[in-house]
Every structure is written in structure tokens, then in C-alpha cells.
């Protein structure tokens, strides 16, 4: 009995960890879309965050610098996107895609360069950076059977993500700025008419959203990959995050369990013993993507007014259009 519960606890724990980068990426994209912009560059921003977070940690040996660099890099990519779509009215789909191509290329480029410059042919951040993101202990709370492991023994990185989700949820639903942001995303012309600075709101939230995506990338580079630069480390997480936004119905709170659900699917293969069901690993790997497609189709069949993509998404706002 104890062993099977322990097994399930281990499974859930691993699922949570797998879901963390998705949580960051999805939250970042939710905030972006709330501003009325569909940014398909999540993958690229996560790559930027990963490589600059890694580089920050690698060059300075400081975990804080690593996080700051990751955030700034993700934000930089997002602001480039904002410049092109908000100010230059470029097509959002293509601009996002370009950001992904660019981010992926730049990350792999810098990563490979770091590896090539290193005498050991591999690049790993200093131990203190890795250690900074190891699971922490909350005294006796951590020792509570099962619950302690599930709730009180994560890395600060995980708690930060959860806190960001909760904070974003509060911000959107209970503050005046959050209300303004929703108005900007739903109907930029209406927001403009009541004097909300639409362009500023878009830049800020696209930027912050990108920064959060960048943090997700840093999690992959510093925690998932254990602080050693890995070629193509994001490998599609950003795209799943874009899809998860739909699953989360544009609510930061629902990002939390959405990412957990997808984390579960991603690691299911490792926790179902091959002797029970023998399914080729490649089929298992399809699960998160299949699930995303299912969610997409189901949500498109049953739409409710409140759980829809912000109406302004994908359409650039131009005031003097006539």
C-alpha cells in the first residue's frame, strides 16, 4: 500500500516538475493575449530565456543574475515582437513565427559557441547556481508524509511560478489596471476612447509576458537540463504552452492545473511499467500533443462568451483608420 502511494506521489511530483516550464510559458502567453496580441514566439522567447539565463549563470555564477538575464532576454524578444506588431502593424502570426526562428537560432548559436569555447567541450554553470534551484526544505512541513513531498519540497523556481500565476490572476480580476488590460485586449478602440493608453498597455504586457516565458526557458536550462547547455533543449515546450492557453481558457489560475495535467501526460510513459501495457515510447510521446488537439477541438465546439480568446487577438489596432 505504502509503496503504491509513494509511487503515485513520485509520479505526481515528477509531473509537477515537468509542468513548470509550461506553466511559465503559458502564463506569459495568457498575459500577452490579454493585451490582444497572439504571440506565436513563445518557443523563441523560451529559447532566449534559456540561453541568456544559462549564460548569465555561467558568466557571473549568480542565480539572481541568471534569472534577471532570462527575464530580460524573453522580454527583449517580446518587445521586438511588440515593436513590429503594435507599432509597425505587422502580421502577428508571421512575426511570432519569426521570433521563434530567431530565438531558436540565436540560442543554439550562443549555446554551441559556449560549448566550442570550453576546453571540456561542454558548458555547465557553477555549482552554486545549480544548487540555488534545488528543492528546499520547510522544516517539519516537508516531513509530512506524501503531502510534504508534493507541496513543501520544491525548488524556489516552482514556488515563484505558482506565485506569479496567482498574482496575475489577482491583477487581472481585481485591479483597475487588470480591468483596463482586459478592455484593451477585447476592444482596443473602446479602451482608447476612454483614455486608456493602449499602446503602452500592449508594450508593457507583451514585454512582461515575454519575460515570464523567458523564465520558463531558464527553468529548462538550469533545472531540467541540470545546468548543462543542451542543444534544442526547449524542443516544442513553447508550442505546447501556446496551446495550453486555450486549455486554461485565458485564466492565470487555470494555468496551474493545465500545466500539471500536461506534465502528467508527458511523463506517463516513465511511470507505467512496460509489463502492464506495452506501448511504444513514440506513441506515448504523442500524448500531450493529441490531448492539446482534443482540447482545441472540444473548446471550439462548446464556446462560452467569457472563456473565449480576447476579441482583439490577432488584429492590430490603428486609431486613425478611416
Amino acid at each position: 500500500m505504502h509503496e503504491s502511494i509513494q509511487y503515485i506521489v513520485n509520479f505526481l511530483y515528477a509531473a509537477m516538475l515537468t509542468g513548470v516550464p509550461l506553466m511559465y510559458g503559458t502564463l506569459g502567453e495568457v498575459i500577452t493575449q490579454k493585451a490582444g496580441n497572439l504571440n506565436l514566439g513563445v518557443e523563441g522567447m523560451m529559447y532566449l530565456g534559456a540561453v541568456f539565463g544559462f549564460w548569465g549563470g555561467y558568466a557571473t555564477g549568480s542565480p539572481v543574475m541568471a534569472l534577471l538575464c532570462a527575464f530580460a532576454a524573453g522580454m527583449g524578444g517580446a518587445l521586438l515582437y511588440a515593436l513590429l506588431t503594435v507599432s509597425f502593424k505587422a502580421n502577428q502570426n508571421v512575426t511570432g513565427l519569426t521570433l521563434t526562428i530567431f530565438g531558436t537560432g540565436l540560442a543554439n548559436y550562443i549555446g554551441t559557441s559556449l560549448i566550442m569555447a570550453s576546453p571540456t567541450e561542454s558548458a555547465t554553470v557553477a555549482a552554486n547556481v545549480i544548487n540555488a534551484f534545488r528543492p528546499v526544505r520547510f522544516g517539519f512541513l516537508t516531513d509530512i508524509p506524501y503531502l510534504g513531498k508534493l507541496i513543501f519540497s520544491h525548488s524556489w523556481f516552482v514556488y515563484l511560478g505558482v506565485a506569479l500565476c496567482v498574482a496575475a490572476g489577482f491583477y487581472l480580476n481585481h485591479t483597475r489596471q487588470g480591468l483596463n488590460l482586459r478592455a484593451v485586449g477585447e476592444n482596443a478602440a473602446a479602451a482608447d476612447a476612454v483614455g486608456i493608453p493602449v499602446t503602452l498597455y500592449k508594450y508593457v504586457h507583451i514585454g512582461v509576458g515575454g519575460g515570464i516565458c523567458g523564465l520558463g526557458g531558464a527553468y529548462v536550462a538550469l533545472v531540467t537540463c541540470g545546468g548543462t547547455w543542451t542543444y534544442n533543449c526547449i524542443s516544442g515546450l513553447g508550442w505546447i504552452a501556446v496551446a495550453l492557453v486555450i486549455f486554461a481558457a485565458w485564466s492565470p489560475y487555470r494555468v496551474l492545473y493545465g500545466s500539471l495535467a500536461f506534465g502528467t501526460l508527458s511523463i506517463l510513459r516513465l511511470y507505467i511499467p512496460g509489463t502492464v501495457i506495452s506501448i511504444p515510447p513514440s506513441i506515448f510521446s504523442m500524448l500531450p500533443f493529441l490531448a492539446t488537439i482534443l482540447v482545441l477541438v472540444i473548446t471550439s465546439i462548446r464556446l462560452t462568451r467569457e472563456k473565449m480568446q480576447p476579441r482583439g487577438c490577432g488584429v492590430n489596432y490603428f486609431r486613425e483608420e478611416r
Binding site: R176, R182, A183, E186, A190, A191, A193, V194, G195
Partner: protein
């Protein structure tokens, strides 16, 4: 053109505009505009579509900025750089196209963009809204979502929005376009109450009788210039029209008499159509139209007019009931087209044409040339897999000449044309097929007077040629002046079909609002 009227003692100027000019590219929207507005006054800004009224007001509300000229508010020169500046100066604008966020509540829309005051809880906001409602006689539940509201309720929210910001100067852009006469009366009451409380109000409109009813002074714009400013008491409607259009215009509407016993061409029986969410958009609708008859349809926006048109054109499925056309050249053969494909309806012996209200979003492809738009309904008739563009181009060129459409060439994208010319292209194309049944939805919306009357003439010509015409309109004067009968829709139901020669506007208004008038009362309403 300086203000010609003396300033009434004790009434300071709320607004004083001097020489405002605004251009968009090569288009001069406003040129050297000067006007004044006193406190406690309602000023009507009268002008045709495209005369520059909206541009002028957008400069006052901070959405556009003038290229040159000066704005004085309460005697001080001001530079209104943004809507926030306008609010700070107490200027509130109620736009023709509502600027509301659908998924937010009434209260959220009202407070949107206002600075959050400390200690201003949701309850306190609700209280402030309730106070306003009481003072001005406005009624709408602050906790409802905008998408649940009717058109007139949405307008009420827009008014509350500006009052909540303590606006003392209100600008209303075509506020009556979508209201019933009764709702218009109520709106005017609210405006008069605001005037009593010392507010200054600008009413932008092109409807003369409203101008005559509610305003103190009238400023007339034409082609971006101020024609004159006059006292309401010293002017007649006819003189206003002449100022507005630039020449004496015969505004009388023609109503060619249909032949007394012409055969019925279109018959609709007990038609029910569902909307996207399963609700009934058309509920048990029955009517018929005779050859050479013009049946008008009146109703508040969203009463099922759109669904009726789209159903008749074969674009929507029917839940029940039927639509029939009668082939008078073939033994009065009844053809059931309830479930027919749009192409069959267009191409059948009793052909039907539909001129939709959304010209560029439904009737035409804006980025395509006039010639390519000619192909829209005929391309599939041609043999083989290829499109033949040459005949279409020739056809387009003929149309341009016949209807004197102003365009550089037949290859110009439709979106570059002005509204009136766009409509000419659309109607011209639809009439090419010589329809027996013609359906038009708001055919003159957004057009200037000359274009409007050109369109009315085209419709009357179809009527004389023996077509059965369904005319969805919003201007009740036009409906009553042009149609033979008027059908009133409310909530998808036919309230009544009245004789346009004898019915009154208020009778239509009551029906539009859903009150059924018994025959005895009908007499009273007529009296």
C-alpha cells in the same frame, strides 16, 4: 464664418472653436471650422454623411488632433491631446458606434479608464451609478454584461459613462439612428434635463425633424466647411436642407402606385429561424409581396431583419415554415425555396437579388477590383475550370458609365471607392440579373443625400418594372414615404403589417417597441 448670434447674457461659452483644420492624406475633412457652444444649450451640428461632423467632434474628444486652429474650453485655450485630456476638461463623447467592451459588465464599462480612487469600493461605485440613474432618469442594471443589453440600453451606458466622469459638455454622434421614436423621445427628455442642469450639449445628426425638435441653435456643415450657424426659432426645415446640400433639393419621396391586382411574387409562411445560440431569431413570420410592390420592414436593430434577409437569400437554414416564389410566367407555379441553395435562388426563373447591409463585408470583396467583383455571382456559370475576366471587365466598364461611378478604372479595388460608389457597384451588379424579387437592407446607410436619392430612384425603377421589393430601413420617414406597406418586426415576430399611406411614425414606434395596438386604438394613434 464667425458666430452670428449674440451671446445670451449670463451664459458663458463652454466651447469656442476657432479655425480648426484637419486633413487625412489629401482629403480635407475639416477646413477653418469656427463655432461656439454655451452652457445650458443644445447645439445641433447638422450635415450630410462625409461633411466632417464626426471628425470635428473627434478633435474635441482628443481622438484626432487638429492640423491647425485653436480650441477654447470655458474661455481658456486648450490643447486636447488625448481622450484623457478631454475628460479632464469635462468633455464626454457618445459615439455613434458604441465603444463598449462586450464581456465586461455595465459598471466595469462605466468606470473603465477612470483613475481608481482610494476607498472606492465596488459598492461605492454602484451607489454612484445609482445616483446618476436617479438624477437623469436613466435605467440599466450595473451588473449586467454589455452583450446582454439592447441597443438603447447600450446607449444609456454610454451616457452614464460620460456622466460618471462629471462631463459638463456632452457630444452625441448620431444618437438616434438605432432608436425607436419612443426611445428617441426618452433620450430627448434626458437631454433636456441635462440642459436644465446647465450642461452644454452638441447633437450631431442629419435628421432635420430632430434638429427642429430639440436644439437651440444649429450649425450646418458642408464638405468640411461651416455654412452658417442659426437660431432654431428663425429657420425652416427647407432652408436647412438647402444649407446642408448646397442647393434646393426636392426631398419628396416618390411612391409609384403598384397595379391594384398584381400577382403575389414572394410568399413567406410561418417562418422560424434559429440564431447561433439556438434562440429563435425569426418567430412565425408570414407575409407576401406582390409584383411591383415595395414592402418596408421597420424594427429596432437586431429584431430579426438580418436573419430575414439571409434566410430569403438562402444563407440560413429554416427551422420551420416555408418561403415560396411564384412563377407568374409559368402557370403561377409555386416554387418552394425554403431549403434551396443560394445559387439556386439567385439563378432560378423567379430570380432573387439581395443587397446586404454590410456592403464591404458581405456584398463585395473590398480588395478586389470592380471587375473581379462583377464575377462574384456569375463566375460559376462559365464552362471549364477557368475564370474569364475579360467579359467581367467590360461589364464593369459599362456599369461605371451607366451609373456614373467615380473610379479611376474598372481595375480599382472596391475599398478605395467612396461609400456611395461602393453601393452603386453593389446594386448595379445585383440588378444586372434583372431580379424578380429584390431584397435590400439599409441601402442608404452612410450615404449622402444625393447618393441616397439616386438609390431610391433605382429601387423605384425596379418596382415599376414589376419586381417585388423588400426594403429594410431605419429612417421611418423614408419607409412611410416610399413603401406601400410596412412590416414591423420586434424580437423576431411580425407585430403588424400597416399601410404606409395611413400609418404614423409613432404607431410604428409603438409596434417596434413591442406593444400591440388593437384595432380600436389604431384609430386613436392615427388621429
Amino acid at each position: 464664418m464667425q458666430p452670428t448670434t449674440p451671446i445670451i447674457a449670463g451664459q458663458p461659452l463652454a466651447i469656442d472653436l476657432r479655425g480648426l483644420t484637419k486633413t487625412f492624406g489629401k482629403v480635407i475633412a475639416n477646413q477653418d471650422i469656427s463655432l461656439t457652444l454655451r452652457e445650458g444649450e443644445i447645439l445641433s451640428l447638422l450635415g450630410e454623411n462625409g461633411s466632417g461632423k464626426t471628425t470635428l467632434m473627434n478633435m474635441l474628444s482628443g481622438i484626432y488632433r487638429p492640423d491647425s486652429g485653436a480650441i477654447f474650453i470655458h474661455g481658456q485655450r486648450r490643447d486636447i491631446r488625448s481622450p484623457i485630456d478631454a475628460f479632464k476638461l469635462g468633455i464626454g463623447m457618445i459615439h455613434q458606434h458604441f465603444k463598449l467592451v462586450d464581456v465586461l459588465t455595465v459598471a466595469e464599462n462605466i468606470v473603465l479608464g477612470t483613475p481608481a480612487e482610494k476607498g472606492m469600493s465596488r459598492a461605492a461605485i454602484t451607489r454612484k451609478i445609482a445616483d446618476l440613474s436617479l438624477r437623469y432618469g436613466l435605467m440599466v442594471d450595473p451588473n449586467r454584461k454589455i452583450y446582454e443589453l439592447s441597443v438603447s440600453e447600450k446607449q444609456t451606458v454610454e451616457i452614464m459613462k460620460v456622466l460618471y466622469r462629471n462631463a459638463r459638455i456632452l457630444i452625441l454622434d448620431e444618437p438616434t439612428a438605432v432608436l425607436t421614436p419612443q426611445e428617441i423621445d426618452r433620450l430627448f427628455q434626458i437631454l433636456r434635463r441635462m440642459r436644465e442642469q446647465g450642461n452644454a450639449i452638441i447633437l450631431i445628426t442629419h435628421k432635420l425633424h430632430e434638429v427642429m425638435e430639440v436644439s437651440d441653435r444649429i450649425t450646418v456643415l458642408r464638405k468640411g466647411l461651416v455654412v452658417d450657424t442659426v437660431e432654431r426659432a428663425n429657420i425652416t426645415s427647407d432652408a436647412l436642407v438647402e444649407m446642408m446640400v448646397g442647393a434646393a433639393v426636392d426631398l419628396s419621396l416618390k411612391r409609384p402606385e403598384p397595379e391594384p391586382d398584381a400577382p403575389v411574387l414572394l410568399k413567406v409562411e410561418n417562418l422560424c429561424v434559429r440564431g447561433a445560440e439556438g434562440e429563435l431569431k425569426l418567430n412565425d413570420v408570414s407575409f407576401d409581396i406582390r409584383a411591383g410592390e415595395l414592402l418596408g420592414v421597420a424594427g429596432v436593430a437586431g429584431s430579426g431583419q438580418k436573419e430575414l434577409c439571409e434566410k430569403l437569400a438562402g444563407l440560413l437554414p429554416a427551422k420551420s415554415g416555408c418561403v415560396k416564389v411564384i412563377d407568374i410566367d409559368n402557370n403561377m407555379n409555386e416554387v418552394d425555396i425554403t431549403h434551396a441553395h443560394p445559387r439556386k435562388i439567385i439563378g432560378q426563373r423567379v430570380s432573387m437579388s439581395f443587397i446586404p447591409e454590410d456592403r464591404l463585408g458581405m456584398g463585395l470583396v473590398p480588395s478586389m477590383s470592380i471587375a473581379d467583383n462583377m464575377l462574384l455571382k456569375t463566375y460559376h456559370h462559365e464552362p471549364g475550370p477557368l475564370v474569364r475576366r475579360k467579359p467581367a471587365r467590360e461589364q464593369a466598364e459599362k456599369l461605371i458609365e451607366r451609373l456614373s461611378i467615380a473610379t479611376p478604372s474598372a481595375l480599382t479595388p472596391v475599398r478605395r471607392l467612396s461609400g456611395g460608389n461602393v453601393q452603386k457597384v453593389l446594386i448595379g451588379r445585383e440588378l444586372l440579373s434583372k431580379p424578380k424579387v429584390l431584397i435590400t437592407a439599409y441601402p442608404v446607410r452612410g450615404l449622402d443625400i444625393h447618393s441616397s436619392y439616386a438609390i431610391y430612384k433605382m429601387i423605384n425603377k425596379q418596382k415599376k418594372n414589376g419586381a417585388a421589393v423588400l426594403f429594410i430601413g431605419e429612417d421611418l420617414d423614408v419607409l412611410l414615404g416610399m413603401c406601400d406597406r410596412v412590416m414591423v418586426l420586434c424580437g423576431g415576430k411580425v407585430m403588424d403589417i400597416v399601410d404606409a399611406r395611413t400609418a404614423t411614425k409613432h404607431q410604428l414606434g409603438a409596434l417596434m417597441a413591442g406593444s400591440i395596438i388593437s384595432d380600436s386604438k389604431k384609430g386613436e394613434a392615427l388621429a
